[in-house]
């Protein structure tokens, strides 16, 4: 004796947010029922597993039918099949596109290709996120990437317009797209300590200051690529380390500012030339795509690690970078203030974000 068929269809589509989350998390119906029973969120209504199972099945079916529409969120608003109140539509979309930062961290900077998709089961076992959920998140990345890759204008806004996401989520997607496009190296062992949020922050900085859109968003260019001209101009900064006088002058200016204000003054004084050289070298090499990809690993290896081994505090670092940047502008013979500030502004905030254990 079995229930052969069991459906419930409302004129207004009923959506249980809890079940939706379980579905998104990739739980099977049986597991979802178990979780719902355990959660006891059903409170006073005493229900049997049977009722829960039937309800969960219905909900899962609804979500499956909606999924096709969620792939193109603007369709959700003008499709006729489901009558879903606006706030539920927004919730459905937002939750569908939400992703686990653990997962995003794993695929960050990787090519969103079939090859990566095949590695998803590794990621799944590594992160403990259900494979189903990994697939959804990966497909979302890919879908968003495909749509906004060729669009002009601000990246985050493009994501938001086409996928009707909240500001925050759109920004995160912008980071993912940006990383996937430039293929930044994030997988190296030395970078493992960095979280998705760290990278997302850096991406945001890069997008805001280093792309073409950063200068003029009406320009006919895309937000996903770094501005070539700017990268080229960065070579000019070499003067700061190549010109001995300038280097010394710079050092003495920084030292005079920082004397007594940071704990690691002696180490800084000893290391100044190396640190400065590291930052300038990174800048001057950014014309090569390969070196752009290695931006973060370079920052860590060449700058962050030396500082860390000297036990700089974050405060020390902030002060140092602030004055390192500002004093260069006061150098009489230094003519590249605009480029310098554009470069250092981003590098400074990235380093500060990345400077933790």
């Amino acid at each position: 004796m079995t229930m052969e068929l069991d459906v419930f269809v409302g004129n207004t589509t009923i959506i249980d947010e809890e079940v939706y989350q379980l579905w998104l998390d990739g739980f099977s119906v049986a597991d979802a029922v178990k979780m719902r029973l355990e959660n006891g969120a059903l409170g006073e209504c005493e229900v049997s597993g049977e009722v829960l199972h039937s309800d969960t099945m219905d909900q899962y079916r609804t979500f499956q039918m909606c999924e096709r529409l969620l792939h193109c969120p603007s369709k959700l608003a003008n499709q006729l099949l489901f009558q879903i109140p606006a706030h539920h539509q927004a919730m459905l979309i937002e939750r569908y596109y939400e992703f686990d930062h653990m997962f995003a961290r794993e695929v960050l900077g990787k090519k969103l290709s079939k090859g990566t998709k095949k590695d998803l089961d590794d990621i799944s076992s590594k992160t403990g996120i259900a494979l189903k959920s990994c697939r959804r998140q990966f497909d979302n990345f890919k879908r968003v990437f495909k749509v906004v890759e060729e669009l002009k204008g601000p990246l985050a806004e493009n994501v938001q317009h086409h996928f009707l996401l909240s500001d925050l989520l759109a920004k995160d997607y912008a980071a993912v797209v940006f990383f996937a496009n430039s293929r930044f190296e994030t997988g190296k062992k030395k970078l493992q300590y960095l979280s998705f949020q760290d990278f997302a922050f850096c991406a945001c900085q890069l997008i805001s200051y280093w792309t073409v859109g950063a200068v003029d968003n009406m320009m006919d260019d895309m937000d996903v690529d770094l501005e070539k001209e700017f990268l080229h101009d960065l070579k000019d900064l070499k003067v700061l380390v190549n010109d001995k006088d300038m280097l010394d002058q710079h050092k003495s200016l920084v030292c005079s500012q920082l004397r007594g204000r940071i704990r690691v003054f002696t180490e800084m004084e000893a290391n100044f030339k190396n640190l400065s050289r590291a930052l300038i070298n990174i800048a001057s090499k950014l014309t090569n795509t390969k070196d752009v990809r290695d931006l973060f690993i370079d920052l860590v290896e060449k700058f962050i690690e030396p500082c860390r081994s000297d036990k700089w505090t974050a405060g020390d670092l902030t002060l140092f970078l602030t004055h390192y940047t500002s004093t260069a502008s006061t150098l009489e013979t230094f003519r590249y203030q605009v480029i310098w500030e554009r470069y250092m502004g981003v590098v400074k905030s990235c380093i500060l974000k990345m400077y933790h254990d």
């Binding site: 229930m3 419930f8 004129n11 009923i14 309800d55 003008n78 099949l81 706030h87 749509v147 009707l164």
Partner: protein, 1056 residues
Amino acid sequence: MPGKLKAKIVAGRHLPVMDRASDLTDAFVEVKFGNTTFKTDVYPKSLNPQWNSEWFKFEVDDEDLQDEPLQITVLDHDTYSANDAIGKVYIDIDPLLSSEAATVISGWFPIYDTIHGIRGEINVLVKVDLFNDLNRFRQSSCGVKFFCTTSIPRCYRAVMVHGFVEELVVNEDPEYQWIDRIRTPRASNEARQRLISLMSGELQRKIGLKVLEMGGNAVVGYLQCFDLEGESGLVVRAIGTACTLDKISNTYAPASAINPCNSSPSKDTKDSPQAVPSALGCRSTHSSPVHSASSRLSQGFSVSVPTLLFAGMGSGGSAGKEAGPLKALLRQQTQSALEQREFPFFTLTSFPAGFLLHVGGVVSARSVKLLDRIHNPALGNTRSYKLLDWNSFTADEPETRDAWWEEIRQEIKSHAKALGCHAVVGYSESTSICEEVCILSASGTAAVLSSRFMQDGALDMDHRFEDLAPPGCGFCHIPYDELNMPFPAQLTYCHCCRRFKVPDVLFTTIDLPTEANVTGKGCLIQARLCRTKKKAQGEGNATAISNLLPFLEYELHTQLMNKLKLRSMNALFGLRIQISIGENMLLGLASATGVYLTPLPSPGGIQIAGKTPSDITYEQHISNMQKKINDTIAKNKELYEVNPPELVEEVIGSPIPEPRQRSRLFRSHSESSDEVSELDLSHGKKDAFVLEIDDTDAVEDIHSLLTDAPTPPGFYSCNTEIMPGIYNWTSALQMFTSVRVFRLSNVNLTNQGLNKVFNDLCENLLKSLYFKLRSMVPCCLCHLNFTVAVPEDELIQVAVTAVAMSFDKEQTLENGRQSCDKTLMKAITENEEQLQFPLELTAESSSNPLSSAKGLSEVSGALPSARAPSVDYSSFTDRCSSWIEQLRLKAHTIRRGSIKTMSSLEKASPLPEGRSRSLRSNRSYAGGSVAVVKMTPLSFIPGTKIIKYLGIINMFFIRETTSLREEGGVSGFLHSFIAEVFAMVRAHVAALGGNAVVSYSMKECVFMENPNKNQAQCLINVSGDAVIFVRESELEATPPQPQSASTQTSSSGEGT
């Protein structure tokens, strides 16, 4: 040549990819009406084609306009092979034919394919120019309005109620034609859909003609059904009540006194129930003999089954008082009005005030028939060639289904007469078919009506009578003569007026009259029964079934009585008994809403008696059970607030019932078929309701009594329009359909086993519904309509359509309540406004070179003023919706700003909507979003006023799949099909300019599967009335300008 139909194909969207190579589609559209076809150009390589065609004009008879649907086919052009069909849209033109209904059909329709379901949408405009036709001998009945609603529609006034109209049309079922063996399933399904559409059109036209003949202008309570008789054909039949309706010119005036079914249920509280109690009873007669097959019938077998009359029960009372002569007078008078009619039947379930005088009880009749090939009498008709070209027809002796129904109706009429009534109200007909056996059923409520709404009614007499009978209890007073009662009944004086007699129990098929005096709340009461039957063929099968039927009915009745008593109630409304036949079982399901009618005596308890009182443990068992029952009764009294003030009971002149009579029934009698036999269902007088548990049936009864799970806290349920005792509805509304199919794997089930399975199935379904709708608590499931079927040997199918409506818990004073109702409504409407406003701006800003920043500021500037400061927004909703709109706004600016931005998404921009907006000036649909359409099986929407009826929605769909597993199995298949049906209904209503469907019902849901072949097929028939409603709060704000008001509503959708 009185009509010109014009159609324009505007655009399509979300079309499926038909060309795998390019991932695009070269779509064009064929527009067909009758035998004329037009085509649009091919719009190449797009999933969102913009045909923007010319106006296609069809010059046609109005007869055709009524019968034929406009058929729109979307195809994919293919240079080398045949064009592939994407899907179709059938549009019923009928709503455009009545001057008062819709003037234009315009909107997005889902493109439907019977194999693939909905495949994109198409934007269509349809208009009709009707020329005046002065020809008296016309075949068409344009202008007659049809309503599914079983009461006088809200914005009309009944001038006259003419009475019963019926018609049926028969045809061969395309599915069973020889050609079906060679054509594709799609072609076959489409032929069927088209045929049924044609037949419904024809049926409606014919009924319309009858109405015109009677001098009416509308059909109310229109009930159309299909009988899929398989090999023997297809019957489409309809019944209804012909009326002359007057549109209430000022829709804003308070509902006229003529119309009691006021749209605001809050007003009902004014006559809040006063409590007065009293005694009870029930009785039934099996009066009609089994008719032997009439010689005229070619079928060879036809049995009519004994019928139950449910009315008051108990033992006969006598003492008559001054009411006698008056009643006689009244009867004379109305009889004259009704006598001219062959069938004084009314499909209405609620009535204008003063129309329904007395209610006698339920009358029902069933007849078992053997099906044979239908010989279509309509075939001689010139129109039949249109249906399908069948040569197999021979114009034989026209023995039709008409005769069968006639028989049944006659029987009903005689039953009503036996109850001293001259009319039958709440009348309905149904069938159940299994192989070649068919049960025809009809039921209604015997009643005495006032002649007020009928021809030559003497008004002054009515008034006299009305003065005598107070409105709150008048309908309970017995219509029959105490001295000459049709059956023994226990009568008491009415507990309200103390002047007239009332029965102890009242069963009816109608809705609870709004003016009725009720104590406490009501609740859904169901009796469920399953009986095994031996497999048999033909005549033997029919005999077996007709032998089982009386038992089934008797037991259902007993169950109903027991459950009613268990809830301390004394009346049933909306009683609907459905009997379904399968190969090896019979299913019976009786649903009704139990209430405590104040005028009627209070019911007694239930006593359990053991037959062999020797055993102590046995006695204990019995006393335990008795205690359980008493506890349940007490609990129920509290739950349903049934606490009538105690009154000294006075049973008048009823002889003491013989003990033997108490729970005995005369079974042997019911089996006799040739003589009129009386099945005495009386269970004795008050407190004498004894269940002997030696009787296996009684064990079952008790079992089913006690296994009914109580409704969870915060929930109420009923199967009628309104729930007595609940008045303060909020506008939260959720209509739903739930279907379950249960497979009995154990073939050798006993009756008890089967019963339990069936009972559990229904109970679990209810439990699931309560769980799903838990967020709406406190709420009431109204119009909870169960349909059972036995689709295959071991399958039981239960389908439910109902509406869940939230209400405010605090039953405060009327003033406070109303105001709080209002704020709530306001909150909701304003929420909508907020949602709607920016949308409109969006659409406009696309043509406006000014930046959207201006639009935004306008929105934010306009909102606070529209918003009442005290409104309590659900903040999340608010934030999200406004935020989404802002996003859209921004999206627009972006699109405008960048010049050569082109992605596939861009093409889906709401440009088509923008177009259609400009085309229809009087309606503004917000670009990009879909207007919300509410659906409800009730005839009203709480807190709103229906200002216009746009026409009847009557749609029939077939869906078939040959990839069942891929579509998520049977559940996935049916789930999406039901969702698609809802979507198509909503789209049609929106295209008519409406924002709701009332009196919605799913009349047919035939599901067949063949999992081995990975196939399934389902047929669904739905109907309802498309309407425009406005919130009452808005009404107060806007001065009476119907035109502007209607425009407003159609543009403001709302979410529930």
